[in-house]
Amino acid sequence: MARTLITVPSSARRGEIIEVRVLIQHPMETGYRRSSEGSILPRNLLRRYTARFVAADAGGAGELVFAADLHAAIAANPYLSFNYRATTTGKFVFAWEGDEGFSHREETVLRVV
């Protein structure tokens, strides 16, 4: 299980633009580095991150807010920050996918007042 650190306010005023910050534990191994024994460390990258918002009264898969296709030039333990305009109460669904079958999902509720 990967560790994540998600910083999103739990509530916001309608129309307010909030900041979403996500940090996930992942080596982002480029495939160019060598181990201390001299062998090439196999490439192991996070490839895609998606942030969806599911409105409480709508359900379903929600709408895609933001996505990122990541490459080897992204630093280890990838950090992403972006914005969201609060319109209705619901939940964020964050998903990370990568090499070696890596897959991680987190949810966080946003209450709009």
């Binding site: 560790r3 994540t4 650190l5 910083t7 910050r21 940090l23 996930i24 534990q25 080596p27 982002m28 630093a75 280890a76 333990n77 950090y79």
Partner: protein
């Protein structure tokens, strides 16, 4: 009213005194020499990658390693009860009659009270618990306890710190005392106060211990990592913490 005035005067005196001492104290955390971007990483917990390990440590603190054993919290209570602990390590441990750093002290609990095998120095779990404990002391001054055995270790550490070693034939003190603040290529030589351990080092791209940092320095002066015994490594740690006595703990630090 007199009480109020007295408090005000006292606060003023204290503020002036702390200003005075910080101006007088030539010791600097290497945080001060970092680029604004790297400083921002450490200042903001929501950006600091080391917080990923802290979160892991918090989970490990309250979870029994296997069912039927005790968790750290079962004996010690909440992590906040660990406030101040990290400022006192390395310390002399009476049960094992040895000077131990915080990581080794955690291992003692793990082997004696949880019946688990000891964690290796750089085990991510050990670093995580260490970081979670040390975070409770963030901002508190480093305060090595007074004990004859610890004092002996500090003195041994001081001797090692001043001894030339490796093919490059440099002592720790050559770079980190005599030449500290001067530039080596693009980087400023730090005074080497271990105020933020375990640290997230950008070069490592992960959390690491003071022991790992010392081994990096050995490699930089082209010395073998086995130049020092385990006791000697801890002795150097003990000396460095004594040298940083009174400086605030920054854990979890970020360093280039």
């Amino acid at each position: 009213m007199t009480n109020y005035l007295l408090t005000l005067v006292l606060a003023l005196v204290l503020a002036l005194w702390s200003l005075h001492t910080s101006a007088q104290d030539p010791r600097r955390s290497s945080f001060d020499a970092m680029s604004p971007a790297t400083q921002a990483l450490q200042r903001d917990d929501s950006q600091n990658p080391a917080m990923l390990w802290v979160k892991e440590g918090e989970a490990l603190w309250s979870r029994a390693p296997v069912s039927g054993t005790k968790s750290c919290a079962d004996c010690h209570g909440g992590l906040s009860r660990m406030r101040g602990v990290a400022t006192r390590y390395p310390a002399y441990d009476t049960s094992s009659s040895r000077v131990l750093n915080l990581g080794a002290r955690i291992n003692l609990c793990r082997t004696n009270h949880q019946g688990q095998p000891a964690w290796r120095t750089e085990d991510s779990a050990r670093l995580s618990v260490e970081a979670a404990i040390a975070l409770q002391s963030r901002g508190l001054p480093i305060t090595p306890p007074a004990h004859p055995a610890l004092k002996a270790a500090q003195q041994r550490g001081a001797t090692l710190f001043a001894s030339r070693i490796g093919q490059v034939d440099l002592s720790c003190a050559d770079c980190h005392t005599t030449l500290a603040g001067k530039r080596l290529g693009g980087a400023k030589l730090p005074q080497a106060h271990p105020t933020g351990y375990p640290i997230y080092r950008l070069e490592w791209q992960s959390l690491g211990s003071l022991n790992r940092r010392l081994r990096s320095c050995l490699s930089a002066v082209r010395a073998d990592a086995s130049s020092f015994s385990d006791e000697e490594f801890v002795a150097i740690e003990a000396y460095l913490m004594q040298r940083a006595n009174g400086m605030p703990l920054e854990t979890p630090g970020v360093r280039p």
